[in-house]
Symmetry: C2
Amino acid sequence: MQQSPVPPETPIYRRIADRLREAILSGELRDGDRLPGENALMAQHGIARATARQALSVLINEGLAVPKRGSGVYVRQFRPLRRHGSRRLSQERWGRGQAIWDSDTRGRPYTVDDMQIAREEAEEEIARVLDSAEVWVRRRRYSVDGRPVQMSVSYFPAALVEGTAVVREDTGPGGVYARLGDLGHAPAHFTEELRARMPHPHETVLLDLPAGTPVIVIMRTAYSANGIPVEVNEMILDSASYVLQYDFDA
Amino acid sequence: MQQSPVPPETPIYRRIADRLREAILSGELRDGDRLPGENALMAQHGIARATARQALSVLINEGLAVPKRGSGVYVRQFRPLRRHGSRRLSQERWGRGQAIWDSDTRGRPYTVDDMQIAREEAEEEIARVLDSAEVWVRRRRYSVDGRPVQMSVSYFPAALVEGTAVVREDTGPGGVYARLGDLGHAPAHFTEELRARMPHPHETVLLDLPAGTPVIVIMRTAYSANGIPVEVNEMILDSASYVLQYDFDA
DNA sequence: AAGTGGTCTAGACCACCTT
DNA sequence: AGGTGGTCTAGACCACTTC
C-alpha cells in the first residue's frame, strides 16, 4: 500500500527501462527478440501492473521496442533504404566514399499505390512558392516489400501543366520531369527543406508507423533553368526506413 | 467500477487527445497556451486520473505539448534555425528561391560550451571510414539564446593532425578546415548521411529535450581534393530547432 | 495554501494471439 | 484455455509552482 519510505533518486519504472535499454543497445537483446512482458516485470520487481507498463512504454516511445497485441513486446529493427539527394554529385565522382550506415535498397523495387491526381486551390505556402493560386496535385504512396515507406505530394502551377501528360496517370517515358522538359521547363535546380517531427495520426495510419517513430518531412522545390519554380514536392518519410545522403563540393 | 457496456469504437483517452490536437493544429490553442489539466479533464469528462493523464501523454509524446511541473501542460512551439548543407550552390545563385518554412537565425549567435579534445581509439565505423585506428576527437555543444540545439563530434586521422593546431583549443583564423588546408588536405567534397530517431537518454539530458522530440543525426565526411577522407563529423540536432536546407543542380 | 503534474498500488474487463 | 497487451477505475503520497 505504501511505497518505500525514501523514494529512490530515479523512479522504479525508469530504472527498469534503463536496464532494458542497455540490454537492447548492447546487443544482448537482438532485433526481434522478446522483452520481458508486463507480468514478468511485475513478478521480478514486485511492482504493480501500471508501473511495469510505464517502463515498457518508455522503450516503445523511444522507438526501441514494438508491442504486439496478445503476444509480447519485441526489440525493433532498423533496416534503412538509402535516398540520394544529389546523385550527380555523388561519391562515384571522386570515388572511395564509405558509407557509415548500412542500407539495403538492393533489388527491392518501389510499389506505388493510392495514386490521386486533382486540380485544387493551393495552400498558402504552396501558392506563395509556386506563385500560383491554382495547382495540379499528384499524390501517391510508395511501398517496399509491401510495407509503406513514403507518402509524396507534388504540386504544379495549373497554368503550366494544364492539359499535358503531367496531369495524367501515365506520364510516359521519363515521367513528370521529362514532360516538364517537353514544355521547356526542365528542372535544373532543386532546393530541399527538411525537418523531422513526430507523425500526425493520419500519417501514423498511412505509413503504418509504430509508436516512437518520427517522420522526416522534405519540401522539395524544382526550378527551371531560368529560375521559375515548376514543382513543389512534399514527402513524408518513415524515419526508420531511410538514410538520406547528400553529396556536394566545398 | 464498471465502464459503459459497449466500449466506444475509439478509446476515451484517444478521443480527448484528438479533440485537443485539433485545437492545437487549427490554431485555436496557440504557442505557449495552457491546455486543460488533469483535474479539468477528469471533471469535464467524468474520467479517472490515469485516463486524463493518458490523453495528455499522447500529445506530449507527439511533441505537440510540454508538461511543466506544478504548473500545467502547454502548447509547444516550433521556431527553427536554418542550416544550409551546400551553401555554395544555394538559392542566391539563381535567385527567386522562396522558403517554405520560416526560420529566425538572424543575428542570434552560436555559443560553444563543453569543448573537449582528446586522442582516442576510433570506433569501428569511424576507423573504417577514416581508414585509421587512432583518431583525434573534438567534441562540443552549440547553443542559441542559451538553449542547446546541437552536439557535434569531429574525428580526424591521428597521423594527419598530430601536433597541429587542429588538436588545440584555439584553431586560429578559419578554424579547423583552414588548418587542414595548411596541411595540404583542404576539404573539397562532403558526404552527409542523415537520419532521424528518438533520442537516447544522454542526448535528452544534454540537449534538454522535451518528450516527443526526435533528433536528427548527421554523419558528415569531408574529403580532400584527391579523395582522402580527412574528417568525420557526427552531429546530433534537436529536430525542433532546425530546418535543413540542401540546394543542388539537376 | 492550493493546485499541478509525477509516481505508484490494486484491482477490473476486454480483444487479441498463441498453443 | 491461457497469456498478452489495451483500457479504465479509485484511490494514495510526493515535489514543485503559483498565489
